[in-house]
Each structure stands twice: as structure tokens, then as C-alpha cells.
């Protein structure tokens, strides 16, 4: 589906005239949200939580029973109830998401899967056309807020170091693809999907498409938007860094790079985590190295260090958290409630700077109650922005396989405990 088809199907959805969905759609289209106060937005999200619980109670017996079991009354629910309602993303692996999707959700949507780099069954999420439409709108607005400018329709070019097939598998690729498509900005994919791997782990099957990369490098369009995993920009910069002078000259003649001129408004957008690269340097070091080989200008044409944005967008969240290196840490969409859970009690933790398990509630998702914790450790600090805070990604939770303490009478030989 392209973005126009998505908007078309969304408008015809049987849920489109539900008061809650109408309210959400109205809010998503209100760019003014980014100018509201943190207090206003928090109250708005509290109201949306109550509305969402009512909406899901009315559309699903399962949710009605769940709220009753948890002792949560939709009329008086508080944001602190999110700690009780949040589900671990591991439940969403395989067909786990099915149980949460309401029966009224439109059927002609899309599925997205996690990349499977954690060696487990991937998380698989269904997105109805209406949710996809919300995804495009909300993420584009958030992107532009963090980018600090409006992406003019039909202007510029983007390179995504992914294969086009991943548009229908990975959330991050779909969001970029659809957002740019809705803006009529040309998107070039820098990778090809080669062999079909046996266990369906798409990131292991990618190979660079040199022609497409050259096309992007040589393009005179502005701004140039470069979307990649952190490893992609790092490896490219490292390659430029270690090139012999002769090779550099040959490359320069062929492509105009290095340095890669991203032009006015040019930006590098990273996302998707480490993708299995365990020896990557810290993000700051990647930025420092890359800025030697990628160049950018502001709107008026003055040279500036190339801006870096990083997108934290798990498969199970409709909207991402985005940061801009050196300018702001990660911020969510104004309607998303991002919360931190105490890593011991899994209760809400509101102390600034304390590391905990991040949880996300997206009240604008209409096909399931999207409140989850993906297994990442984050912290937050106060901020002057619309959200009142910014979030810092710390790390993935360390999850052990096997078991570390032996049974009393005997489990197996100790050196074999982890090999079950």
C-alpha cells in the first residue's frame, strides 16, 4: 500500500466515525500540540487514557475483563495505572499480538516484524489502515519537530541503507518510506536483499547497492537525508578514513565524495540499534568520525557540523522517540506517554535521572491497547520542551538463558547449566 491508499482506506474504516477514533484523528492532525505546555499535554494524555480504556472496553470483552481483574475503572484511571497495564514485548513474539487486537479492527492492514537479531521469534505487530495513517502523520510531525524544520514536499532526496523489501517488514523502514512518500520526497534504497536466509533474519541478507548509493552521492537535490543504522554510517566513514589518497581521488571523481555533501538541511538519521555489531564505538565517537566525511549546511547555506538524529522505534510502537545529537535527547510524540518502571518492582518511577525499564503508551492506536515495555533501560531528565522531559537510552536489559544457580538435589553438571 502507498500512503494515499492508506489514507483512503483509513477514511473508509468502520471505526472512522467512532467518537474516540475521531477525537484521536483530530488530535493527530493538530501540529499545535508541539506548542502546548507539558502540563496541558499530560492532562490531555490522562483524558485519552480514560477514553482509550472506555473505547477498548466497548470493543472487546477481553479488555473489559482485564480491567476488572486489575481493578482499573476506565472512568477514573490514572497514568500510574499504566504500570499495571504494560505488557512485556516478549508476549508479542510469534502470534502473541493476535490476542490483543480488537475484532472491529479493519483487516486490510500490514504486519511489521522485529529484525530478529535477538535470536528469538520476532515480534510481529498488525497495523490497521487507520493506525498506519496515524503512524505517517504522527511520525512526520515528530520528525520535523526534532529536525527543526519543515520538510518541503517534493524537495530533496533520501538514501536509506535498507532494501526496499524491508518496507513491508520493518516498522522503521515503513515509517520513513511512507512519510517521505506522503511528502513526495524521492527515497533511494542503498541495499539489496540477496539470499533468502533459512531463519528469516532480514538484516543478515543485505548487500550494498553501489549504483543507488552513487546516485544519492551524485544528486544535486537539497536537502539530502541519509537514513542508516549506526553501523552503516560508521563503516562508511571508517572506509573513507582509511582510504589511500589515490583511491580517494578515484572515488571523488566517480561520486563527488568524500566528503559527502548533504547540502542545505542535510541530516544523518540513525536507527534500528546495533544490528548485531557488538564492537561499535560510542555514538558520540561515530558522530565525530562521520562529521569528518559528511558535510552539511543550514538553510542559509552556512557550513554546519552535520546534524545527527537517532530514532528509537521498536516494532511494537506506532510512533518513535527521536533525538538530535548535541541538541536534545529523545522526545516522544506529544500524545505518547513514555514512563519509566522501577527495575525491581516494575512500579512507576518518577525520579529524574534514575535508570529504569522504559514503557510506552500510545493512546492513538485504535486496534489494540498499545501499552508495553520492550526491555530497554532508559532514564529521563527535565526539559523546557513541550514534553517537559527528554529521555536517554541506556541499554538493553541483560537477559540470561539457562540458569545460574544449581538445584538442590541436582539439575545437571554445573558447566552445562547454561546449555539447556
Amino acid at each position: 500500500m502507498n500512503s494515499s491508499e492508506i489514507f483512503d482506506l483509513a477514511s473508509k474504516s468502520r471505526l472512522a466515525h467512532d467518537p474516540y477514533v475521531e477525537k484521536v484523528w483530530g488530535l493527530i492532525n493538530d501540529k499545535g500540540l508541539f506548542n502546548k505546555s507539558p502540563h496541558y499535554l499530560r492532562e490531555l494524555r490522562k483524558g485519552l487514557l480514560r477514553d482509550a480504556l472506555k473505547f477498548f472496553t466497548g470493543h472487546s470483552e477481553y479488555y473489559a475483563q482485564l480491567f476488572e481483574r486489575l481493578g482499573i475503572n476506565p472512568k477514573s484511571a490514572e497514568l500510574s495505572d499504566l504500570a499495571k497495564l504494560a505488557i512485556p514485548s516478549d508476549i508479542l513474539r510469534g502470534d502473541g499480538h493476535k490476542q490483543f487486537v480488537i475484532k472491529d479492527a479493519d483487516e486490510n492492514g500490514e504486519y511489521f516484524m522485529s529484525s530478529g537479531t535477538t535470536n528469538k521469534n520476532p515480534v510481529k505487530i498488525y497495523r490497521s489502515p487507520i493506525d498506519l495513517a496515524i503512524m505517517i502523520k504522527a511520525n512526520t510531525d515528530l520528525f520535523e519537530y526534532v529536525y527543526g524544520d519543515y520538510l518541503e514536499p517534493g524537495k530533496g532526496v533520501a538514501l536509506f541503507m535498507a532494501a526496499p523489501e524491508l518496507r513491508y517488514r520493518l516498522n522503521f523502514v515503513a515509517f520513513v518510506h511512507l512519510a517521505l512518500e506522503s511528502k513526495n520526497i524521492q527515497l533511494i534504497y542503498g541495499m539489496d536483499l540477496k539470499d533468502e536466509s533459512k531463519d528469516g533474519r532480514p538484516w543478515q541478507k543485505l548487500e550494498p547497492n553501489k549504483d543507488n548509493i552513487l546516485k544519492f552521492l551524485k544528486s544535486k537535490e537539497e536537502p539530502k537525508l541519509f537514513f542508516t543504522a549506526p553501523a552503516g554510517v560508521y563503516l562508511m566513514s571508517k572506509q573513507f578514513d582509511t582510504m589511500s589518497m589515490t583511491k580517494k581521488i578515484v572515488y571523488k571523481i566517480a561520486s563527488g565524495a568524500p566528503p559527502v555533501a548533504l547540502g542545505r538541511g542535510g541530516v544523518i538519521v540513525t536507527g534500528g540499534g546495533t544490528k548485531g555489531f557488538t564492537d561499535l564505538p560510542q555514538y558520540g565517537e561515530i558522530v565525530e568520525l562521520s562529521r569528518k566525511h559528511f558535510k552539511s549546511k543550514d538553510r542559509s547555506g552556512v557550513d554546519i557540523p552535520v546534524p545527527f538524529m537517532d530514532v528509537l522505534g521498536m516494532t511494537e510502537t506506532l510512533t518513535a522517540l527521536i533525538d538530535k545529537f548535541g541538541v536534545m535527547d529523545k522526545v516522544p510524540h506529544p500524545l505518547s506517554e513514555v514512563f519509566i518502571l522501577n527495575p525491581k518492582t516494575y512500579e512507576l518511577m518518577e525520579e529524574e535521572g534514575k535508570e529504569g525499564v522504559v514503557g510506552i503508551f500510545n493512546p492513538f492506536v485504535t486496534s489494540w491497547l498499545e501499552i508495553f515495555y520492550p526491555g530497554d533501560i532508559m532514564s529521563f531528565h527535565r526539559s523546557e520542551n513541550f514534553y517537559g522531559s527528554e529521555f536517554v537510552y541506556v541499554r538493553r536489559l541483560k537477559l540470561e538463558e539457562g540458569w545460574d544457580l544449581q538445584r538442590a538435589c541436582g539439575g545437571t553438571l554445573e558447566e552445562l547449566m547454561g546449555r539447556k
Binding site: I87, Y346, K398, G402, Q406, A408, C409, G410
Partner: protein, 488 residues
Amino acid sequence: MDEATCLNPFCEIEEYEVDKKEQVGFIINELKEKSLSKALEKSKDLQSKLAKIPIHERLEVLDKVGKLWAEKLDRGEYNQLKSFLAKSTGYSTQLIELELSFVTFVLNGENIRKNLEYSFSKRIEGLHRFIEVEDQESYRFVPAGPVVIISSGNSLIPPLIPTVLSITTGNFTILKPSISNYFGVVEVCKLFKEASIGSETAKLMMNALTISYFTHDSDKLKYILGKAPVGVINFWGGEPARTYISKLVSENPNHPRLLINGPLTGVAVIDKASADENTAENLALNMVLYDQQLCSSPTRAIFIGSWRDAIKFAEKVGTALNRIGKEYPSSTNESSTYTLQSVRRALQLGGSTVYASNESENMWTLIVSKGESALENVVKSFPAFNIYSRRRFIEIIVIEDYNQLYRLVDELPVNEAYSGVDKVQTVGLALSNDKVEEVSEKLTSYGVYRIVPLQDMSIRSALEPYDGVNLASFFTNTIYLRKKPIEW
């Protein structure tokens, strides 16, 4: 690395040699094949001498060792060992204290005598001479060893029980404890040395014992299991070690007999009439002791009665767990907390009622489910939440009819949530008196080994067999002597 983290052999082999290895943070000095072979050469003679010593003298040695242990424990001589074992096993110091106090019972001569009497049909004199069982027909119980005992558990008691029975029945015994209980086992066995001052019997028993750690891939372990002239191998543990060991033993040209005491678990059965505070306390205590890692620990409870009564009972158990659990503080880490919290939520989402504590040193969880276990499906999403990792966690399955109880006992070993345990070892009953006999009788058809009161599921009587087998019988061969021809 200090001496405490070095696993040295404990044996009386002259000028023994070792191979040094480093594994999981410990220096391991494994006895070399040459030294093992030297000891095994002398084992026949040693066993023969030991088997001639009147059994009561051997039991006296055990008594002496048990008393020495109790005295030293009282004097605080094992305080350092307590802290070390708490660290290596992961149990609280309070639990280790309890564990060390149990050692005295294992080494109690009277207890061992009782066990032998029930193993040898009250004819334990047969352990040192022929005893006539019918006119001119006699039995003599001789060591079947050398015996090799491989104990993988972290409790001291499981390796001590077979070891004590093995040397008491006159066997030369090679013991491979686990890394976590190694130092505790060696401390106990050192007392045989102390007891041997002035006692030839104690000296012989001491000489009959060799303790060494071997890594699972050790060529010395391969030698012992696959080639050495041994008579009995007793492994305490499960997969993947069980298959590995079985394969090696099957190749041994000396055809040793193999006894595997696989991982087992317990089930508590409670009816409405017995669901009082006392029963709740008993269930809570058995969940806390050894953090449910004993083969007898209740890891599933079956409640016969109404949902309402079950909920009331669960609340009582929760109160008891709050109190008892605090007395035995346990530890958690980031990974286990994530898994536990996620499983609790998954069960709630699935319709179970969940009671839980978030006290970091006492994270107990009670799940109340209707008719069926809800745990299996959840463990599919969280495979790390296996029976080895579940601590202070029990699912109370509520049924209204006694007949449903047997199915829930029967299906446990094939339930994915219990993957890794072979069977239900112990059923702990808290039932009205008129039901105990009927339920016990029916349970005999479902492969369980022990049916005991819920209150002391973890406590073994002296005369109990081990997982359906009398170990002392297994460690001996019965020689039959007939002095007259049979008329036929």
C-alpha cells in the same frame, strides 16, 4: 586466587597427582588417571576388609563423625564455611545454617541402621557374614563397588546420603560433588580422618573414600565412567549430563550398574476442610526452603474446593510467605526480575489471579488458576522461566472434584513448564482424614515416589527409599549360599 577457591582432591591415595584446570572462577585439581587407577587397584582388598567389619562398628564410626560435626557446628567452627556456601549455592545464610544442622541427622548411626534394616529386610548382619534365611540357605550382602557417585546439586545432603550408605556397605567410593557444595562435603568427610585416631574401622572407611571434582569434559571423568573397573555409578542430575554419562557408562567393559536419580519435584494437595492458616504456613515454608529447588519442594498446588475458598486460602499463603520468606532472604538479578514480572503480567492477561510480593529479598508469587494450569503457555513465551529458575512461585490450580487431581499429577512431567524434571517425587497432602487413604491409594498409579503430610514434605524419614530405590541394596550384591541340594 586464594586456597578457598581451589578444589583439591580429598583422598588417602599415596603421592597422588593432579591436572590443574580453571573453570567457572575456580582452580580445579583433578586426580590423574594414574592416581585413580592406583586407588582402584587397591579397592578390592579394601572392600574385602571393610566388609568383614561388623556393621555395628561401622555405624559407630558414623555416629562419632556426626557428633564431631555437631560439636564443631556449635562451637562456630563452620561460620566461614557458612558464608562461603551461601555465596556458592545462592541460598541465604539462614538456610545454609539449617542445611548444616541436617548433616548430623545424615550421619546418625541409628538413622542409617534403620535405613539398612529396611533395605535388607531386617537382616543387616548379612553385611559382614552369611545369615541363614531358610534351612541351609543363606544371604550375604557384599559391596558391589567400587561405587562412583556424581552429585550435581548444590545441597550438601544429596551427595552425603549415597556416600555414607556406600562406604557403610563396604564400598570403595569415588565422589564427585558439585562445585557449589564441594567445600561443605569435604569438611564433613575430613571428620572421618579425625575419627580415625585410634579407630581402625574409621581409618578403613576413610581410606575407602576419594573425593575429586572433574569437569564434564574431563578425560579423567571419561576414564572413570567408560573404562575404570568400577561396579556402580550413581548420578544425581538430569539432562544434558544424564545422556552424556549414560553413553559413557554403556561403553565400560566392566559393565557397572547405573542408577540415575533424575530431577524431580513436589505437588501439594489441599482440600477446603484443611485450608486453614496452619496449612498455609506449611505450604509457604516448603516453598521457601531451598527456594523450591529440592526434588520434594512443592512447585504446583492443587486445591480441591470452590474458587472463593481457594482465593481465601491463597491470601493466607501470601500472608505466611510475607513472614516466612523474610526469615530466609533470597536474591534476584535484573534478568530474573524482568522474567518474573513479565510472567506475572502474562498470567494476569491470560485470566489467572496473581498474588505477589515485590520485596526484593522475598519475591514470592501465587497464581490461582481454574481447573487447568495456565503456566505452560506463558513459559512458551518466557522459556527462561523454567523450573530451575522459578523460586517462591506456585500455581494453585482449583478443582472441585477429587478425580481431577490425578490428571494434574499425571500430566506434570509432560507439561512444558516443568521441562527438566522427570516426575513428581513427593505429594504433600493436607486433606481431611477420610480422604487421605483413598487419595494415597489412587496416587500409587501415577508414578509418585513419596506421599507425605504437606507440613514436612522436605523431611525424609530414616527408613525411606530414595526415589523408589533402596540405595544400600543397589550398592551391594546379594550372595546366595545353599549348603544342601534342593530336592526336586
